[in-house]
């Protein structure tokens, strides 16, 4: 393998690892906040217990999110010095502002965890709100750099020199709001569904202990409600993201849809895989005219196909599969939420049928998968560019060799951290079953947090 391929694999692996913890770091604080608010509203101590337990797991997850994010941030400069030189001159604002968001999150996370028993309940709610704001803001800001890579703005390159720099124009590049919005709502959705998954799983296992069962039921309902709302927002916003691709990165949309010939009334190909030889999507279901409609709100929107672009600009064709998988998962989870809502609120049933419960259990892992697919689609689909039509990935990569060894070392460390984080969480929650806390809280509410 040449060094470019290894650098891409190494960076992609780092990001794929970081994003698991980062997404939960964005999603779970919002769930903790809602649990805190529900506790204040209903005075039902179960919600305080939820907030406490979710915070514990959040603290563990951040123990991996933060170092892996630090790796991501430094690795950008180490692996892609050419790219970061441009970013430094043009697009450093989001990185800089992100530092403030990290500070807000780190300061108030420590306050929320280690000073909870010494501050008033409204100060606690303010702290966890600031944690949620800090985490979401850091996600929004870093995603802005990614948005800039797809729709660069605020500079020109003339004879290899960067000129006409306008850092705010770069900051408010055309896809900033839609892309950042998509990342945040999908992270909220994932956080909620992960909570729902665990609750549903526990409900199946603890059928006979009414107290514990009811506790998890409340968590499930909270997770499903939030997950439902945010999966709707994710889908609506994802539609807008696709329209942006149509406008700004047409060859990426063409690759996502496996469309080779430019046409109006273009069909939407669902499933299957793109075949380069026959220039078609094999084994797919085609819905006539739909792609044109989705991309431009009218059936005669002209969609440009891959053949309009030189072949060396084509993204890898497998992104069609990634894109379909992300959208498919989004639609499926939206469907689960709607069925759950109808079952519970309209048909007024108190328990969910077993198959549906298994669906809920799958929801968390599935949405995490959608996050991975979405990112790999977005980054790989940008190839061969690191900054669209401005800089090739090959021109940004480090010239230092010996990357293979580093790739192996980083992968080993991610595996170790991944395994140990699971073991630590399992260990902790085995040692501290929820029953103990429910008991403790029925006779004493003074120290929710000091464990």
């Amino acid at each position: 393998m040449d060094d470019l391929v290894i650098a891409r694999s190494l960076f992609g692996t780092t990001m794929a690892f970081h994003i698991i913890f980062a997404t939960l770091g964005v999603g779970i604080p919002l769930m903790v906040l809602f649990a805190e608010l529900l506790y204040q509203k209903t005075k039902d101590r179960d919600y305080a217990v939820m907030a406490n337990r979710w915070t514990k797991s959040l603290a563990v997850l951040l123990g991996v999110a933060i170092p892996s994010g630090t790796i991501a941030g430094v690795q950008l400069s180490l692996l892609w010095p050419g790219f970061m030189e441009v970013i430094g001159r043009v697009m450093s604002l989001p990185f800089q502002i992100e530092i403030y968001a990290f500070f807000v999150e780190a300061l108030f996370m420590s306050i929320y965890v280690y000073a909870a028993d010494r501050i008033s309940s409204w100060m606690r709610i303010l702290s966890v709100t600031l944690v949620a704001i800090g985490a979401s803001a850091s996600a929004i800001l870093i995603t802005n750099v990614h948005a800039f890579e797809g729709t660069p703005a605020g500079f020109r390159i003339e004879n290899g020199e960067i000129v006409d720099v306008d850092p705010w124009a770069a900051f408010f590049n055309p896809s900033f709001f839609v892309t950042a919005g998509h990342v945040v709502v999908s992270a909220f959705m994932t956080g909620a569904f992960v909570i729902a998954s665990i609750a549903a799983y526990k409900m199946l296992r603890e059928k006979h202990n009414q107290r514990v069962y009811q506790f998890h039921r409340k968590a499930l309902m909270l997770g499903l409600t939030m997950g439902g709302i945010f999966s709707l927002l994710t889908a609506l916003n994802g539609h807008e993201s696709a329209q942006l691709l149509h406008e700004y990165q047409p060859e990426k949309l063409a690759a996502a849809e496996g469309l080779f010939e430019t046409q109006s009334h273009a069909p939407l190909a669902i499933g299957g895989y793109t075949d380069r030889e026959t220039q078609s999507v094999k084994w797919s279901i085609e819905i006539p005219w739909l792609l044109s409609f989705l991309a431009g709100n009218s059936f005669d929107t002209v969609i440009r196909g891959l053949n309009d672009f030189p072949e060396e600009w084509w993204p890898p064709l497998f992104v069609h599969t990634l894109f379909n998988a992300m959208v498919g998962i989004g639609m499926l989870l939206l469907l689960f939420s709607i069925i759950g809502f109808i079952w519970n609120k309209i048909m007024k049933r108190n328990t969910f049928p077993r198959p549906l419960m298994w669906g809920f259990i799958a929801a968390g892992p599935l949405s995490m998968l959608a996050i991975e697919f979405g990112w790999i689609f977005a980054c790989t689909g940008r190839q061969p560019w690191v900054i669209y039509r401005m800089m090739k990935t090959a021109d940004a990569v480090t010239q230092t060799g010996n990357l293979a060894m580093l790739f192996i070392l980083f992968t080993i460390v991610y595996v170790i951290l991944g395994i140990s984080v699971v073991l630590v969480l399992r260990y902790y929650f085995h040692r501290h079953p929820v029953m103990n806390e429910l008991d403790k809280h029925s006779n004493d509410n003074s120290s929710n947090f000091a464990q």
């Binding site: 603290a59 941030g73 430094v74 800089q96 500070f103 807000v104 580093l406 460390v413 951290l417 073991l423």
Partner: protein, 346 residues
């Protein structure tokens, strides 16, 4: 002041704050490991009580330094990023292990020992590697072949100058952290822990001063340009050494708080921070305008002026927003008696 000077001052400020916070952070991790088996004293508890809420905040500073570096000096980033790939990656790997296992050790009590050893030991290696960036910027270790810059690791790791820096990093990490923890235990009325950390500080202080002298000695040979320039700031160096003795005396003064022990650790901590400030001022000032000698100066690597202006505004706004948060944090964890004196942290 020119834009370049403002930028390098800000960057230097971050590095200084991080250097102080990180030595405390890594040192506290190390001490919590060393005193783990002494059940009777609270030395480990004190270290953990300091460490638990602060490590995240400290970590943000390292990210802040990297961001400030590539946003203010993108030209330097290209060279630094290229030559630091290997050492930088090793630091990152150690940092990941260290932070994660630090958190794990607090949660999985049964495996606390093993986990604390891993985080304590990896934590003490990190400052030794981090500081290696300094001798690299002194010149002589970067070689350019066919337009590609490369770090001569063989040269670096056979250089006495590098080992002087490594020795200095480790001894000051342990020195500063033991001094701070002495102060922290004094504030928490943990006299036994105070005695232990005071003793450690008294042993390690002179060692780190020796290491600093060793740096100057080796610098004479290996980075003569820098040595000559530093001598222009000789009064600062004298001031720095004077502050060291102030701190030493402070540790022997009668305590204002307790009758059974000696020392005014708060005064000593302040004096030592001033000592490091003076010394790094002289070092930094002499280093200018070079970022990496002789290839990159602060002018040659500087960012676009428009970007600088926007960044500068963001710094001011960010500072105004964050300042109250830092004050509140300080009050809750450094001053609040209820936190300092509790029995079991976490």
């Amino acid at each position: 002041m020119t834009n370049e000077l403002i930028a390098i001052t800000l960057l230097w400020g971050f590095i200084f704050i991080y250097a102080v916070m990180a030595t405390m952070d890594f040192g506290a991790g190390f001490w919590s490991m060393v005193y783990m088996n002494r059940e009777k004293t609270k030395a480990t508890n004190i270290a953990n009580r300091y460490l638990s809420p602060t490590w995240e905040v400290t970590n943000v500073f390292i990210v802040a330094i990297v961001v400030a570096l590539f946003s203010f000096f993108p030209g330097a980033t290209f060279l630094l990023g290229t030559v630091l790939l290997i050492p930088g990656s090793i630091i990152l790997l150690l940092l990941a292990i260290r932070s994660a296992f630090l958190v794990f050790a607090h949660i999985a009590k049964e495996y606390k020992k093993a986990l604390t050893y891993i985080s304590g030991i990896s934590g003490i290696i990190i400052p030794a590697l981090l500081i290696s960036v300094l001798p690299i910027t002194h010149g002589g270790f970067i070689e350019t072949v066919d337009g590609v810059a490369r770090l001569r690791m063989d040269k670096l790791f056979t250089s006495p100058h590098e080992y002087a820096f490594i020795g200095f990093a480790i001894s000051s990490t342990l020195f500063l952290s033991s001094l701070l923890l002495a102060d922290y235990s004094n504030a928490a009325n943990e006299l036994e822990a105070y005695q232990i950390y005071r003793r450690d500080a008294l042993i390690l202080g002179p060692i780190s001063l020796l290491m600093a002298l060793f740096i100057m000695l080796t610098m004479q040979n290996e980075a003569a340009w820098l040595y000559k320039r530093m001598m222009n700031y000789f009064p600062w160096i004298i001031g720095s050494i004077a502050m060291f003795f102030v701190a030493g005396i402070a540790l022997f003064l009668p305590s204002t708080k307790h009758t059974t022990v000696r020392g005014r650790p708060r005064l000593a901590v302040v004096a030592i921070v001033v000592q490091y400030f003076f010394a790094s001022y002289a070092y930094g000032k002499a280093h200018l305008p070079y970022m990496i000698y002789p290839d990159v100066t602060i002018q040659s690597g500087f960012t676009h002026p428009n970007t600088f202006r926007a960044l500068f505004i963001s710094y001011i706004v960010g500072f105004v927003i964050l300042f109250p948060g830092f004050i509140y944090f300080w009050r809750l964890f450094m001053k609040d008696k209820r936190y300092l004196q509790q029995n079991d942290p976490s």
